[in-house]
Amino acid sequence: MNMDVATLLSNFPEAVSAPLQGVTHELRGQVQQLFNQYHQSLAELTCARDKGLISPAQFNIELGREKLILEAQMINQGIVIKAALQAAIDTAFATQVTSDTADPVTI
């Protein structure tokens, strides 16, 4: 196994962060879109309450649901980041480390 630790550590932040910048930029746009949808959904809900289509109690239940749905959608951002991070770190190591070991490390 050959590895220049000093070179690896000095190049690592750049090697990992560069591919992630594109991903985080894309995610920011998605977060904005999700919040816009959330905002619109709350407006429809408020309108339904004002028109008497749902009771105040039902309105509160629906608010809780909206939050939960948004949370479920946001969770995907975590998955995308983890997957991108995994790929970026693997690429960074692959270009700087020579080894015959292929066992993955789980965290």
């Binding site: 590895m3 550590l9 919040f35 749902i54 969770i75 991070l85 995994q86």
Partner: protein, 154 residues
């Protein structure tokens, strides 16, 4: 308020990312590949798509029934079938390593479904507005689950 929530969420993601990178640097033995998220699982995608279709059919049928016929007893078996499918899906997610995020989504789907069943049972009826809204909720949620799976590495 929305912008503040969005910024907070974004900051949390950035902090988490930074912490994860530091942990990874410290933990990775030289020459090894890393794994921080579960691999893509086609069975999960197929299961989620099937459950999504079943839920959509359930609400569509309900919507086409006259309001007075939407009593809980008529829908009981469908609620139970979908409850069982969501429970099986959640158990499958539990068994997959590094799959905490998809597991959380599957728990959310089951939580909503059980809440809906209880609400229908207590009210012994359900309005057009609620049917349409809840149908949209499940579409979003199941779509998120499938999208999340597709984001995972092969």
């Amino acid at each position: 308020m929305t912008e503040k929530l969005e910024q907070t969420h974004y900051n949390q993601l950035a902090n988490k990312l930074e912490q994860t990178v530091l942990h990874l640097i410290a933990l990775i033995p030289a020459g090894r590949s890393i794994q921080v998220v579960a691999h893509y699982n086609d069975q999960s995608v197929q299961q989620a798509a099937q459950i999504s279709r079943n839920i959509d059919q359930f609400f569509t049928r309900l919507l086409h029934q006259p309001c007075e016929q939407r009593i809980y007893r008529h829908a009981h078996h469908s609620y139970l079938d979908i409850d069982l499918a969501l429970t099986a899906f959640k158990r499958h997610q539990e068994l997959r390593p590094l799959n905490d995020l998809s597991l959380r989504q599957s728990e959310q789907a089951l939580e909503l479904w059980q809440q809906d069943r209880l609400q229908h049972q207590n009210n012994n009826g359900i309005s057009d507005f609620i049917i349409q809204r809840h149908r949209t909720h499940y579409k979003k949620l199941m779509h998120a689950l499938i999208q999340g799976e597709h984001a995972k590495p092969a």
